[in-house]
Amino acid sequence: MTGWISDFMNHPATYLKSGWFQISVTNLLVILLMLTVFTLAILIPFPKDEEESKK
């Protein structure tokens, strides 16, 4: 691997610690991404079928 991907991935994970609790930044980002997708899936309206909306 070369470039920024290499710089980003070829080192040990960075961990956030608070007392007994610790989490890697990568895992935290994945969890935040999932929560974002979950929230958007509830909030964004589903496109309506054109034939259905004409009725």
Binding site: V30, L33, M34, F38, L40, A41, I42, K48
Partner: protein
């Protein structure tokens, strides 16, 4: 003369899951929401996992660890697992917050929950058979955990042959069966309505 078991099974199947329910061509209005798409997204990811897994099994590690196409299919297998879990967890959150076990859907909920556990076991054995430093690290960390609960001699995470066979034969079979039953139960009971929605004909549950 008593009815044959084939006829009994057929009648029971037709009563519980007629073809109109198995292959419906319309759904209740409340299904038109993005949160209802995550079940089928999970299934789609599982399809890619199974397809890429079959190719990996046929070609073997000498191919998927060295050739460009092999590395691509290996990565496809790995990344579709990541998407599978993301979709499955969002599906789980959605169903948990709408209390999807309502309306006699307990078995649907439970097969989904057990399929989630079976997925973790399948993914775990998958991580163990990567034959790289990552799998070595995971197996040696996990070995202490399994030994501490007394199952280390029976479920030996450092035994590559055992982990590979569990990963490619036994666990996919269990997960596949659970998925089929889960989907059939969804078709039988109908998609769960949101908590404040009026039940519609398709979501009404035969008690």
């Amino acid at each position: 003369m008593s009815e044959m078991w084939t006829a009994k099974l057929r009648n029971k199947w037709q009563k519980n899951l007629p073809i109109e329910k198995l292959l419906p061509d319309d759904q209740p209005a409340y299904v038109a929401s993005w949160i209802y798409t995550f079940g089928v997204l999970t299934l789609s990811a599982l399809g890619v996992i199974i397809f890429s897994g079959i190719i990996l099994a046929f070609e073997g590690p000498a191919w998927y660890h060295t050739s460009h196409v092999g590395k691509f299919v290996n990565s496809l297998h790995f990344w579709s697992v990541q998407l599978f879990f993301v979709f499955m967890v969002i599906h789980l959150w959605g169903k948990f917050w709408m209390a999807a076990w309502r309306g006699n859907r307990f078995a649907t909920w439970m097969t989904g929950a057990v399929a989630f556990i079976a997925s973790i076991a399948t993914a775990f054995t998958g991580y163990l058979v990567q034959t790289n430093f990552d799998s070595q690290w995971i197996s040696f960390e996990a070995k202490d955990g399994f030994n501490s609960v007394g199952v280390g001699a029976w479920f030996t995470v450092t035994n590559l042959g055992q982990m590979l066979l569990l990963h490619v034969a036994f666990l996919p079979l269990i997960l596949g069966a659970l998925t089929v039953v889960h989907v059939l139960l969804v078709r039988k009971r109908g998609v769960v309505p949101p908590i404040d929605a009026e039940p519609t004909s398709l979501s009404e549950v035969k008690r």
